[in-house]
Subunit: 254 residues, 2 copies
Amino acid sequence: MLQIVILGTGNIAQHLFDVFSSYTNITIAQVVGRNSKALEFFKEKTETQTNFNNIKNADFYILAVSDSAVEEVASFLKDKNGIVAHTAGSIPMKVLQDHPNHGVFYPLQTFTKNYPVDFKSVPMCIEANNNESNILLKKLANIISDSIYDVTSEQRKKLHLTAVFINNFSNYMYQIGSDICEKNDLSFDIIKPLILETAKKGTLFNPETILTGPARRGDYKTIDIHKSQINNKEHLKIYNVITNAILNKYGKEL
Amino acid sequence: MLQIVILGTGNIAQHLFDVFSSYTNITIAQVVGRNSKALEFFKEKTETQTNFNNIKNADFYILAVSDSAVEEVASFLKDKNGIVAHTAGSIPMKVLQDHPNHGVFYPLQTFTKNYPVDFKSVPMCIEANNNESNILLKKLANIISDSIYDVTSEQRKKLHLTAVFINNFSNYMYQIGSDICEKNDLSFDIIKPLILETAKKGTLFNPETILTGPARRGDYKTIDIHKSQINNKEHLKIYNVITNAILNKYGKEL
């Protein structure tokens, strides 16, 4: 039985709590957080605690707090023997170096409150300061996911950057599409199959080989028509900068 | 039985040919194209023709040629009684106005050669110059798809622009992600579940309400770290312009 204390009460804490709770070989000994209202989510199923000086003993202390709070919260775990691991994409492992056994337990996925995620397919990025902790963090990760990766702090920083392009910026493309549809009396439903197929093909093919569209084929006439149709200044800037990047990459004239 | 002549031999022509061929209430009378090599794809299953003066009679003439060839190819159909419809996103219907019955039969999806598409979920955007042609084009569309929309030429132009943001530009985000992974010894597989989940959530939620990331929360420290990690000049421009658009949209300081 693996004993876990979760520190933090937000989005990631809730998702990890839900998935850990669904396995009988994991026990969540405690959830610790300052915000007693946020602790209500957890308190029917485990012990909750607002005082960071009253943290229980466990095999793993999973820090699911905001980036800026990781170091401070970790400082309350100085006398603990279990593994202290944070879940942040952009924080180096070394902020936990005061602990004999520490590491990173980073689920590379987008999480939305109250929207369940199939954790089995979530890549778990693992890093640890010693071999034993690495093995134990992977043992825990393996229970909840089929997709485990060794990822260094430097690589994880790059993954976090990648996730911004893949998730945040694709989402912003959807927002622009939604905005154009709304302004032209078109249901956004009409574009949803394209969103899904674009993503599916992005995972089945090398994205470079399947790109289509006016920039890819150097169709300046269509590009000009598109530009003339964009009223939003920010959207036009985005259209220009990505179109130019594509023209450039595929050897078309700017 | 609906009789169809397909004009054109490219990607869309092949996909429409495949889906039409799979229904017993549709007959493809002929495929017409200049390129005899490209016609080989079709010739085992239907009559093929390179001479545009020898086009058979049919209920529908589906023009699946490049945008710049639509008008010219349509000129060979002047004496035909069936419905002449093109399949292009950005070409107005009126280029076909010399024909008594004309319209548009635009499948809003990304198509890749030899990669089958589930047409049942492909939105078919229909426009016609008279009520009878509209009904007949919808009858044809209804056989292959469950998703039929009335879309004017002006709206279709906007949809085509939307598709560039949704498909081409999201694909380019994947390319940037793939590039960062490659340069940092990370398998692109690690990012694929995020691509799929991002798209899925983009269709289940209003994209505006689920956006996360440093720009959304005005986390300038992380934005600066990200910028310092981007070596590619074009990628940095894209990062900056989308980040600024998000900061601006969500009322954060630039």
